[in-house]
């Protein structure tokens, strides 16, 4: 209830419809990723990536969490649910989002998920979003891409699976009157894109400045509910996910020899000329 409604209780009934619209339940998909600064490797045993490195909430998903919080704060009502599909340590990603201010978390975790590709991940996420919203999501937010797989495909796959309009790469987002409107910074134009709710929106790192969890937020997060769901809870057949069921396969991988240190010259008044000489020798001129 907003302040006006509290002062004038009758408004509650007359403005019921409007309030229902303002009350947004938002699901944000957040991925737990290895720290970008850590050394990444593959596992020899099954060609999957080595996850035994420190991880965190994918930085680009912080923008989606922030945007969801802003929408709910502006509406004065609503709830933000953060969903992750990942190993036990992925609880850290949820924790960070809850500390920022999300209301509750959903952690889909199952041994069978190891080695899942994007198609399988999107299946599990779609089921989790459906379950978290009793089958009728209103607004689903995602990052523009993860910082590890960096495919940038899960949002479109989710939209396809959930049958939602897909409004991606938002650098501005407004929600209201039953629709979402975004601005997208395209290659040749700045575009305005519209879709009616329910919808899926992915956001870029241009959209806002994610907040740091406050001390209060950190304390409050400890009491926030986190549901743990297995594949069985979602009605997903374990045989449809994981490495063996993946529709793509890594045949082999090889560590690139480090780039050979190139030629370095210190400018002593002729640096530009030397640069041009290099380009000329390499036939760029």
């Amino acid at each position: 209830m907003d302040a006006d409604a509290r002062r004038e209780p009758w408004r509650e009934t007359t403005d019921r419809r409007k309030e229902d619209e303002a009350r947004m339940n938002i699901v944000v998909c957040v991925k737990y990723v290895p720290d970008a600064q850590s050394e990444r490797t593959f596992q020899e045993s099954d060609n999957t990536v080595d996850r035994a490195v420190d991880g965190l909430l994918s930085e680009l998903d912080e923008y989606a969490v922030e945007e969801a919080l802003k929408i709910v704060e502006a509406a004065g009502e609503g709830e933000v649910t953060v969903v992750t599909v990942g190993p036990g340590a992925a609880a850290d990603a949820l924790k960070k989002a809850l500390q920022m201010g999300a209301d509750k978390g959903v952690h889909v975790q199952d041994e069978a998920l190891h080695g899942s590709d994007a198609v399988a991940t999107s299946l599990v996420l779609a089921k989790a979003v459906e379950k978290a919203t009793d089958g009728s999501p209103e607004l689903v937010l995602t990052g523009m891409s993860s910082t590890d797989g960096v495919m940038g495909v899960v949002p479109a796959m989710l939209a396809e699976r959930l049958g939602l309009p897909q409004v991606t790469y938002a650098s501005e987002l407004t929600v209201g009157d039953g629709k979402v409107t975004i601005r997208r910074d395209g290659d040749t134009a700045s575009e305005t894109i519209e879709a009616s709710l329910p919808a899926l929106v992915s956001v870029t790192d241009q959209i806002n400045e994610p907040r740091y969890p406050s001390f209060k937020g950190i304390m409050a997060a400890k009491k926030k509910p986190v549901e743990a769901w297995s594949l069985a809870d979602l009605g997903v057949d374990a045989g449809d996910v994981g490495l063996d069921a993946a529709w793509t396969a890594v045949v082999s991988f090889a560590k690139r020899p480090p780039r050979e240190q190139g030629q370095l010259v210190t400018d002593e008044g002729d640096g530009g000329t030397k640069l041009a000489e290099f380009l000329s020798a390499q036939k760029f001129l």
């Binding site: 994007a118 495909v153 409107t181 529709w247 793509t248 396969a249 890594v250 030629q263 400018d267 041009a276």
Partner: protein
């Protein structure tokens, strides 16, 4: 020989270079067919034929341009049903990857994105190369289920002409209302710079925080080389250059023949957008800057003196 569908990347029939690259690569896997969604197919047909398209499927849906990726995914899904292609090749840019993503779900197929090479493997099925973890690993992968859907990064292949008929076949596909759920209601065109497009350019010259906001030495050097201009996120965040020119994880991924970084430190997120460039050059005041770990040639110096001198020398040599 099986067909290989290539989704054309075009604006009103004006093709982007990636399309010719994909047609060139598709020949390794089968007979290329171009898929042209939207107007302008008659203009583009010659190019499709020149680069080896046996057929050109045309879906001239005037609406297609006003909607996001969903219509293209529906077109491709219906074509997969119809012609059972050996693979579908799509440019690995933001829109291409989303089209591929939806197509993968619709057609029950595996998806590989950001490939830098595609070829026929031992069993004849497509095999890809990806460069991952900031370029530290090279991965060979394949699609094991459905129709291989492969997104290939622009600038990954040298284009080669190999004329074929390019027979136009107009296809009737139904684009569902659901695919039209997200609509572009306004587009404010950006000012044309006359420079090549960032992801297609053979040479890219980028500026970072070290420019202090003055991009003129970067632009002048770029123009002397006929290059596109890029920027680091620090420069974009400061409002010095448009976001559409940002190179990196959250900007454009470029793979030019030559990449020049001026006043850019070489953060991992910046590298993610340029590490597959063939030749890398940097100008930076700080000899410890991480960008120098990547370079083929580096100048430790002030970009405000090095770039103008290089520009003058390039102009002189080019005559």
């Amino acid at each position: 020989m099986a067909e290989v569908l290539v989704l054309a990347d075009h604006a009103g029939g004006r093709l982007r270079k990636a399309t010719a690259e994909l047609l060139t690569l598709a020949r390794r896997l089968g007979e290329p067919s171009a898929v042209h969604v939207g107007p302008g197919a008659d203009t583009a047909q010659k190019t499709y034929a020149k680069y080896g398209a046996h057929k050109v499927y045309v879906v001239d849906d005037a609406d297609a341009g006003s909607y996001l990726v969903a219509p293209q995914a529906e077109v491709l899904a219906q074509l997969i049903e119809k012609v059972s292609p050996a693979a579908v090749l799509i440019p690995s840019n933001a829109a291409g990857k989303e089209i591929a993503a939806r197509l993968a779900i619709k057609s029950g197929s595996g998806l590989i994105t950001d490939a830098v090479d595609v070829r026929a493997g031992d069993d004849g099925a497509p095999e890809t190369t990806q460069s991952v973890f900031a370029g530290s690993y090279t991965v060979t992968a394949k699609v094991t289920t459905g129709t291989p859907i492969i997104c290939v990064k622009p600038n990954s292949a040298a284009i080669e002409a190999s004329p074929e008929a390019g027979a136009v076949e107009s296809v009737d596909v139904t684009i569902s209302d659901a695919a039209k759920a997200a609509k572009i209601t306004d587009a404010q065109p950006k000012k044309a710079t006359g420079r090549p497009e960032l992801t297609e350019a053979a040479i890219v010259v980028s500026g970072g925080r070290g420019t202090g906001g003055d991009f003129s030495p970067v632009e002048e050097f770029a123009d002397s080389l006929g290059a596109a201009v890029g920027a680091s996120r620090a420069a974009v965040d400061a409002g010095w250059y448009p976001h559409s020119n940002q190179v990196g994880q959250t900007g454009k991924q470029v793979s030019p023949q030559l990449y020049v970084a001026a006043g850019i430190s070489g953060a991992i997120q910046h590298r993610a957008g340029m590490q597959t460039s063939k030749t890398i050059v940097a100008v930076n005041k700080d000899e410890e800057a991480p960008i120098f770990e990547l370079v083929d040639f580096g100048v430790v110096g002030d970009l405000f003196s090095v770039l103008p001198q290089a520009t003058a020398e390039v102009k002189k040599r080019k005559g």
